[in-house]
Symmetry: C2
C-alpha cells in the first residue's frame, strides 16, 4: 500500500447487489432502477430507526437471493450507517448468522466497505463478503439537525439525506471487478457550516482522486465515469474547480450520486442528496446495471464522508472529511 | 475463514504500544503500568470530547515513538471509540498523515482493530498498521446516560466507563505475535437493562470463545490467560457459568480488563470498568508487558461490545452484543 493506494493481486468481483429506497428516491430519475421501495418510508416499522434497519435487512436478503447463497456462506459482513453507534446496521443485520465488522466512515462507508472487503478477499482472508450501508432522511434529520415536526428552513447549500440502502456481495465469478482502491486520509479544511457538507467533503475527494492518478499514472479520460458519493451541486463544482487547479480535468465524465438521485426541477432538494444510503443505492442499482449492460466499462467511485457529529458542531469545531475510492470495471486489468 | 475464525498465514507482531489514562485509572492496581495520565482527566483540553481525542493523539504518538517510525510509515490506521459518529477518533487522529478506516464495535473495537489489522497484514495488504481506541468517563456518561452534574444514582450492576486510550503498531519483527483471530457475530439475548452491560455482552463472549475452541481443538488449559474486555464482575460470572455448561472451564485462568483496572475495595466502581478504552489501556500496557517479560506466554483476548444507543434503549429495544477474539502469543506457533 502506498499513500492509501493498493492494486489488488487477486481482485474480487461483485456477485450481486440489491437496493432499497424511500418514496422520494422512487419518484426521482433513477426510480425504476431501484429494487425495492416503501411508499411511506416506514418499511412496516414503527420508528424511523427501525425503518432504516429494515432497509439493510431487505437489501442484504435481496443481494443474497440474487447470488443464490444464504447467510452461512458469507464469511464476513462489513456494514455501517450514520446513526449514533451505527445502530442501523447492528440492529438491521442482527438476524443474519455472519461475522460482523462495524464500520464508520459517514457517507463514505459504502466505498469503505467495498474497499476493505476487496482487500480482505485479495489477501485470502475471506472468500465471500457482504457490504451494506444505509441512511434514512427521517432518522438523520432528527439526529443531526432538527426533528421533522420543527419544520426548519433549509439553506440553499444543504443536502437531503437519502432514504436508501445498498447491499453488495463480493466474491469470485462476477462480471464487475474491483482491481484497485484508495483508502483515504481524513482532512479538515476549516468548513464550519453544517449545511454545506459538499464544501467540507470536496477537498478530501480531491486528495483521494489525486492520490489515485499519482499512483497509477492513469488520467481521467481513461474512465467512462468518475462518480462521487454525495458532494451535491455545491461540492461537485468545488471538486471540479480544485482538481482543475491540479491539472486533473474531470468535467466531462464526473457524476455525483447525490445529483443523479433527485430531479432538480421537480424535487426541491436544494444541493442534492447525501447520506450513507445515497451512493449505496445508486451504485448498487444504476451504476452496476450500466456496467453489467456494457453502457459503462470502467468507473471510479469515490465515497465522500463528513466526520463531525452534532456536538462537535455545537462546540465550534470544523468538519473533517474523508473519501475512499474503488475502481469498478468490466475490463481485463 | 470458518465461522469467523481465521488462522493467519503470515501473522503480524505487535511492534509497540502505548497507553494513556485518567486519574481514577492511575490510582488503580495497574496505575504504574500505564504510560501517560492526566490528573484532571482533561489532557489540557476544554471539553471532554476534545480530552478524549487528545488521548488517542497521545497514544498513537507514543506508540510511533517506541516503534521508531513516523506517521508516513504507517500504511493504514484502524480506529474507533464510543462517541456518536466516532468523533473521538476522527478528531483525535486528524493530525496524522495516515489512511484512516473508522471502526465501530463499541467496547470490542480494540480487539476488532487488532483482528482486522492482523488480517490486512497477513493478506499482504499493509505492512505497518496502527490500531487505536479510546473512551472517556465524562464524555460517555453524558452521551449514554446522564450529564455528570445530574449526580444520578448508579445500580450495583452498572460499570464505570474507563478514561483511557491504547494504541498499537502491528508489523514485522516484534516479540508478541497474533497468529489467530475470531470475528464475532452479533447476538441479542434480550437484556434491556442499560445498567447491566455485562449480562448483555457475556453470551456473545461465550459464542466467540466457543467458536475458537471448536475451530482449533485447543482447550482453555493451553493458555496462560483468557482475558475479556469489559464484562465486569457481573458479566464475568455469567461468562464462566455459561461456558461451564458447554464444558469449557475457564475459571482458573479467566481475567477481565474491567475487573483488573480498579480496586474493588478502595474504588467504588460497582461492577467494574468498561468502555473502548478499558481493554485498550489494559492490553496495551499490563498484558503486553507481561507477555514481553515472559510472565505470560500465550493469551486469548476477547473484546466485548454492546451495540445499542441511547435512543434504541428509549424505544424499548434490547441490547445486541458482539465479541471479537485475538490470540497474543510469544510462542512459536
Amino acid at each position: 500500500m502506498t499513500n492509501g493506494y493498493i492494486r489488488l493481486k487477486n481482485p474480487p468481483s461483485i456477485l450481486s447487489s440489491y437496493s432499497c429506497v424511500g418514496s422520494e428516491e422512487k419518484k426521482g430519475p433513477l426510480g425504476d432502477r431501484f429494487d425495492y421501495y416503501s411508499d411511506d418510508n416506514r418499511f412496516n416499522k414503527d420508528t424511523w430507526e427501525k425503518s432504516e434497519s429494515e432497509m439493510q435487512k431487505i437489501a442484504l436478503f435481496g443481494a443474497m437471493q440474487r447470488a443464490k447463497i444464504n447467510d452461512t456462506e458469507i464469511d464476513i459482513l462489513l456494514a455501517g450507517d450514520l446513526l449514533n453507534q451505527c445502530v442501523g446496521s447492528s440492529f438491521g443485520l442482527l438476524s443474519y448468522d455472519i461475522p460482523y465488522v462495524g464500520l464508520y466512515g459517514a457517507c463514505s462507508t459504502c466505498a469503505l466497505g467495498l474497499a476493505l472487503g476487496s482487500a480482505l478477499y485479495s489477501g485470502g482472508i475471506a472468500e465471500k463478503i457482504g457490504a451494506v450501508t444505509s441512511s434514512h432522511y427521517c432518522s438523520s434529520e432528527r439526529q443531526f439537525r432538527f426533528p421533522l415536526e420543527y419544520g426548519g428552513q433549509r439553506t440553499p447549500t444543504s443536502q437531503w439525506t437519502v432514504t436508501g440502502s445498498g447491499a453488495f456481495i463480493l466474491g469470485d465469478g462476477g462480471n464487475v471487478k474491483i482491481p484497485e482502491c484508495v483508502f483515504g486520509k481524513s482532512l479538515d479544511m476549516g468548513i464550519k457550516d453544517i449545511n454545506n457538507m459538499g464544501a467540507a467533503m470536496a477537498p478530501s475527494a480531491v486528495q483521494t482522486i489525486k492520490s489515485y492518478f499519482t499512483e497509477t499514472q492513469h488520467s481521467p479520460a481513461d474512465f467512462d465515469m468518475i462518480i462521487t458519493g454525495d458532494l451535491g451541486y455545491e461540492g461537485s463544482d468545488i471538486l471540479k474547480d480544485l482538481l482543475l487547479k491540479e491539472n486533473i480535468d474531470i468535467r466531462s465524465n464526473h457524476r455525483d450520486c447525490g445529483i443523479l438521485i433527485y430531479d432538480r426541477d421537480t424535487q426541491d432538494k436544494h444541493s442534492g442528496g447525501s447520506g450513507c444510503g445515497c451512493s449505496a443505492a445508486v451504485i448498487s442499482s444504476h451504476i452496476l446495471k450500466e456496467l453489467n449492460s456494457g453502457n459503462l466499462r470502467d468507473v471510479l467511485f469515490i465515497g465522500t464522508g463528513a466526520l463531525m457529529n452534532a456536538l462537535t458542531m455545537c462546540q465550534g469545531n470544523s468538519i473533517p472529511a474523508i473519501s475512499h475510492l474503488v475502481r469498478l470495471t468490466v475490463k481485463e486489468v
